[in-house]
């Protein structure tokens, strides 16, 4: 196993992405002249992208077996069900 640095993902590059995305978010939140809703959607998308970068590369989910990915994925629909169901409360 004479693997060297380049066989691992380029962590510094991921770091750069994260940095840029965070900066973009902050600028976006305060400087962008768009509607509140559009802003929220964009910010959430950015946040999810960042979270995915961390999960996939830093936590190596991209390289793991499926059975391990499933462990992390099981709670997500449950969380969504809880929040969505309770929110519909307000919509009636």
């Amino acid at each position: 196993m004479e693997t060297t640095q380049h066989k691992l993902p380029n962590y510094m590059l991921i770091w750069l992405y994260l940095f840029v995305l965070t900066a973009a978010e902050v600028l976006f939140a305060f400087e962008m002249p768009i509607s509140q809703l559009a802003k929220i959607v964009c910010l959430l998308v950015l946040a999810v992208v960042k979270a995915l970068l961390v999960a996939l590369f830093f936590m190596h989910l991209k390289f793991e077996r499926w059975r391990l990915r499933v462990v992390f994925m099981i709670p997500l629909p449950l969380a969504a069900i809880l929040v969505l169901a309770v929110i519909t409360e307000k919509l009636w």
């Binding site: 099981i74 519909t88 919509l91």
Partner: protein, 589 residues
Amino acid sequence: MTSVAATTRVPHAHHDDRSFLRKYIFSTDHKIIGIQFLFVSLFFLLLGGVLAMQMRWQLGFPGKPMPGGGLLPESMAAGGVILPEYYVQLVSMHGTFMVFFAIMPLLVGVYANFLIPLKIGAHDMAFPRINMASFWAAFAAGLLMFASLFVPEGGIRSGWTNYAPLSARPDLSGVTIGQLLWCVSIVVLGLSSVMGSVNYITTIINHRAPGMTWFRMPLSVWALFITAILAVLALPVLQGAAILLLFDQTIGTHFFDPAAGGQALLWQHLFWFFGHPEVYILILPAMGMVSDIVANGSRKPIFGYHSMVFAIIAIAFLGWLVWGHHMFMSGMNPTLGSSFMVSTLVIAVPSAVKVFNWMGTMWRGNLRFHVPMLNATAFVAMFVIGGLSGIYMAATPVDMFIHDTYFIVAHLHYVLFGGSLFALFAAIPYWFPKMFGRMMSERWGKVHFWLTFVFYNLTFFPMHILGNAGHMRRIYDPTQYDFLKPYQPMNEFISIAAFLLFATQLIFFVNFWYSLFKGEKAPQNPWEDNGLEWSLPSPAPHGNWERVPTVYRGPYEFSSPEVSDRDYLPQHEKRPTDREPASTTAPSH
């Protein structure tokens, strides 16, 4: 190659030279931890029963001084007569102790710990020290909850469900410290449960003996596995909710306080999002162990093993989608109510699969009615009643009438006592020999079973009728209502039956303690069962196996035509036709 790695993990399997403290108190041995859980949770079961007796006295004989009530302080029982505030506390603490500190630790704490490694062929849990921490956290939580009975104002007074804003407002409920202790205790208990469940899940995935494939696992292990998944995902939600409730009382947050913009129903959503999976945490392990015992008692393979597994999974999964059925009348969006109704009704389907498969197992069997089998049969019979009464409540229009009446109380005792507790009355004597090396008395076990079965039904069945009359739950004095006055004789009847039921439990108590010290010495395999645990001496030694056995078949090969001299075929017994399993050790490279 496989077992080498496995055996080297516990080098001193049978040379047990640990000090007393290491061996029995700060033990990391899964069996000792299971036994520790057993003693502590039986204590809380008894305590829950004592609280129930006081409730029953008040309900049957409102306004009459309770025998021994004079011993209670005036703030609880004035002149021996239970006060309303004490009654409400009794109900709440009875539910809390029974659910969180008796049944849950009995099923999960005791049997997940004791059975998982023994049944899958592991030396211990994956993380023995975390396992020990899990017990001590549960113990601390129990102490905190117990302590709340003795602080000024006593324990909680808002039901085991702690509906906010009542629970969040000491000025309205009349309890301060007790409520804080409840929250803290539940957070600690959640921690214990998560630590335990992480352990169970990892152990089952990673530490199965060679040949122990997923579909050769006993149903008890399957059920405990799925239960652990439920616990690991549900308890953190309760912890979160309890923390919010704690903050509402202490640091002035307003989560559940409508006066400041909070939402009263939010608590209910969080609680029941945990709460319904919780009730399946309280039944699935029972179902699993009953499956093992019914197959053993019937001397037949379990009927439809695979569908039993899928039914467990289906119940667990659907359990996440039904929490709103506790809130039909809460003012929740009625359209949401409709979807919760349908998902709730659908749970009857996997439950039906389980019930009919148990019956299929007994069909054309050769039934041996040892005490565990008697109780397991009663489990099936009683769980069905509780499950069927669930259907009435799932139908929203009917629930409009019976919600928060004794119909619910009847339902919950049929599933929790008729279900979970009967399963425990089956499991405790069944695995007693493997825990303590002695048998519990069969004769007294039978006496206990029959009396319990009769008094239990006399206590809880009439509650359905009270519910149909509109008798509200959690009321201190039913005779306040004119329409309930005619039912007072029935309340009295229930109370007397309940006292007899409690008295009957003393038989179990004595049998348990007596057998612990004086019981007949247990043979290695008293029930002629196939599970791996019976390949060990009774009691099972520290470290379990010197060398982990290899598994050649499923756990329910009773009356197999392969053997003629006896009607069981252990999982680890190699027959001439059996081949060595392909290595289950994942090659690391």
